[in-house]
Amino acid sequence: MGHTVLVCDDAIFMRTMISDILAQAGFEVVGEAETGRQAVEKYRQLKPDLVTMDIVMPDMGGIEAVREICRTDPDAKVLMCSAMGQQALVVEAIQAGAKDFVVKPFQPSRVLEAVQRVLG
């Protein structure tokens, strides 16, 4: 309980929804990022237990951000948020160091399952 989370997505809509799902499950959303670059910066500052990462974002996409985060912290726990039809990108993200993924549209139960797997 009380795991800290950094939510990264360029849409406020998605950030709000993910934050709500996680907050209701007892997580503490400690930060949000709108771009990949912000995600990398905030990860450094906040050292959250979990990161949710959108794949397509302006100014450094999610995959590059994962790569960058895992380069400095190989144990970083990043959960990719993808849309249908992005399998190739998801595979790439996992190879870059992401630990799991969820596919939009989000079902809260699926999101939480994935989070549990990531946090082990």
């Binding site: 998605m14 974002m57 998801v90 595979v91 799991d100 549209p105």
Partner: protein
């Protein structure tokens, strides 16, 4: 989950993204070859799709998804977006804009995009057939990479992801990643690249070399989620057939361009060393030395030809993309243009070809935009409605000439003359405006007279950019234009960049190199045969008056003394000539051009520098600047 509280957020943000799409589509329409607008539109559309899916708006999601498919193809394509494709994207954005309120009001299911979806699919199909070839190349490359994985020993592990799982490939990738943490993984079948495909069925196998027990392995794999079964054993793997791409015959191999560059640089040094050797031998000749030197000379020359030859690329490799671009541009401007390519087999050094692609595109754009008239205007002028642009490459002395000719309206010399007088290039509008002066005027940075008169699309001219690039390559440009009949611009380029043939001269204590490509002849500068041209010294040569420049004065050299009848080099570019007076001529030489950054405040006379065979430096004069 109650989604209604997200509705307003969804509406506001969707509108913003659709607005972005509209703005970027306009940008794309203006420059159909830009990739940035496409990437931006894709991103906005993708975000919209994710939001709509999350809100449960199936119809909106579907429309956004199919639009996105088309954008992906557009992003991967070499050529630009066609006008009708941009139209279609506009329609999709409009439809989304009109429908988001409906969807939020709870009427998503009643939305009907059938006709639009069909059009999007059709356009995607067409675009796909054009990109198919590129993809084939890409996937072939992946196949070879994977085939390189050696088979190894270890436990054979077979995994099946649940068939109903979303993105089975993603799950497989996680499973693989997790076992990689346990030991050494090899012999992955199908190759990991297959995980990225939509048709991956979720079954894969690999060999794992590790000390941990089977239950640990199984637990790690199941931790990836959506795993149906895991079997760990020693059963032999049926080796799947691997796609193998074999290159027909063994006549070609691929070589990294960097290696060729490096080879070329060494070659250049070798050529210089060869020249130095000949000089040294000449100082103390013996029959043996002379024989060896002559042999080395011949071998190096042959090698040089081969090395340069290995870098030569036929111009069609760059020209091939032009017909499509010209067609698209003409279509956008409501013109009819036929582009003809001549001399596509003429070869140039890859480095030069890469540099010249954009300037040529610039010239073609100008020809379509400013040169070729509208079909109606052409009809009135008694010309065929279909305009014609020819891009032709041909050998020219030791280099290559590329000429872009259009049969359009030509350049209005009166307007240019007015501008030339304003800029102080000409004294009066009544003077004859030669082709040379014409090029100088339209080649000025920021030149825009013609743009104001004829510009339809709001694109700047930028001839100055073309001229700068060509000069940087050691080439020259010339123009011919006749009102009503069209314009022709010729770029003269060296075949290769690395080795330059120069005439070596001396002024004071320093040596200067003049590229031979610009040297017409050398004469004696006889003060008795000089006259004055616009208050400046000029040389009379075979009844022609040629403006003269004394390099000694230009460079403010005062060491040593100039002879009474010094040599003069007649420089030539197009129909322009100029005499350059130096202290002495030292002979012809091949030199290697070194990158050169002129110090601040230096006269813009030099295009580069070189180290000569004896180790001393020489500056390379920019002949075009002296003309």
């Amino acid at each position: 989950m109650d989604l209604s509280r997200y509705a307003n957020l969804f509406l506001a943000e969707s509108r913003e993204h659709l607005q972005t799409c509209n703005r970027l589509l306009l940008e794309l329409e203006r420059s159909p070859h830009g990739t940035e607008p496409v990437v931006g539109i894709f991103r906005a559309m993708h975000t919209l799709k994710g939001m709509a899916a999350t809100m449960g708006y199936a119809k909106l999601t579907e429309l956004a998804h199919r639009t996105e498919n088309l954008l992906v193809l557009l992003r991967e394509r070499v050529a630009g977006a066609e006008a009708d494709m941009i139209d279609l994207l506009f329609q999709a954005v409009d439809a989304l804009e009109q429908s988001i309120d409906e969807a939020v009001a709870g009427h998503d299911e009643t939305l009907d995009f059938t006709a639009l979806l069909a059009k999007l699919d059709e356009a995607a199909k067409q675009a796909q057939s054009r990109t198919g070839e590129m993809r084939a190349v890409r996937s072939a490359r992946q196949t070879t990479d994977v085939a390189a994985i050696p088979s190894a020993t270890g436990r054979l592990v077979r995994v099946a992801i649940r068939p109903d799982a979303v993105m089975r490939g993603g799950r497989a990738a996680i499973a693989l990643k997790r076992v990689e943490a346990l030991g050494h993984v090899s012999g992955v079948r199908p190759a990991a690249a297959a995980f990225e495909g939509q048709d991956f069925d979720g079954r894969f196998s690999f060999r794992l070399h590790t000390d941990v027990t089977d239950p640990v392995i199984e637990a790690a794999i199941r931790g990836a989620g959506d795993v149906e079964s895991v079997s760990i054993g020693e059963a032999p793997v049926p080796a799947p057939l691997e796609d193998q791409t074999t290159v027909g015959g063994a006549r070609h191999i691929r070589v990294d361009l960097k290696r060729l560059d490096s080879l070329m640089n060494h070659m250049g040094e070798l050529v210089v060393a060869k020249g130095r050797l000949a000089e040294v031998v000449a100082m103390a000749p013996t029959p043996d030395l002379e024989a060896v030197s002559a042999r080395i000379n011949r071998l190096v020359t042959e090698m040089q030809t081969e090395v340069i030859g290995s870098r030569l690329t036929p111009v069609w490799q760059v020209f091939d993309r032009y017909p499509r671009l010209v067609r698209d541009l003409a279509r956008q401007l409501g013109k009819r243009v036929d582009l003809l390519i001549e001399g596509g087999d003429i070869e140039l050094d890859r480095a030069i070809l890469d540099e010249i692609g954009d300037p040529l595109l610039h010239l073609l754009r100008n020809a379509v935009d400013h040169g070729i008239e509208s079909p109606a205007d052409r009809r009135r002028a008694g010309k065929p409605e279909m305009g014609r642009i020819v891009i032709a490459a041909a050998r020219d002395r030791s280099g290559v000439a590329i000429r872009v000719t259009d049969d359009g309206r030509g350049i209005d010399r009166k307007k240019i003359a007015e501008r030339a007088v304003k800029e102080g290039i000409m004294e009066s509008v009544n003077e004859e405006l030669t082709d040379d002066v014409l090029l100088r005027v339209i080649g000025r940075p920021g030149f825009s007279t013609a743009a104001k008169v004829t510009d339809v699309s709001g694109r700047g001219v930028g001839i100055d950019v073309v001229l700068t690039r060509v000069r940087a390559l050691g080439g020259a440009a010339s123009i011919e234009s006749e009102v009503g009949h069209g314009t022709s611009i010729t770029l003269r380029l060296p075949v290769t960049l690395a080795v330059l043939r120069v005439l070596l001269t001396r002024v004071g204590q320093e040596r200067y190199a003049v590229p031979l490509a610009h040297v017409a002849e050398t004469v004696e500068f006889d003060p008795q045969k000089t006259t004055s041209l616009g208050g400046k010294e000029a040389l009379v040569l075979r009844n022609r008056v040629i403006p003269a420049t004394r390099l000694r004065d230009l460079l403010q050299v005062d060491s040593g003394t100039a002879s009474a009848r010094p040599p003069a080099i007649i420089l030539e570019s197009g129909d322009r000539q100029s005499a350059l007076v130096v202290d002495a001529l030292l002979g012809q030489q091949e030199i290697v051009v070194e990158p050169f950054e002129a110090p601040r405040g230096m006269l813009p006379l030099f295009s580069g520098a070189t180290i000569l065979g004896d180790g001393g430096p020489a500056l390379i004069l920019d002949a075009a600047a002296l003309l």
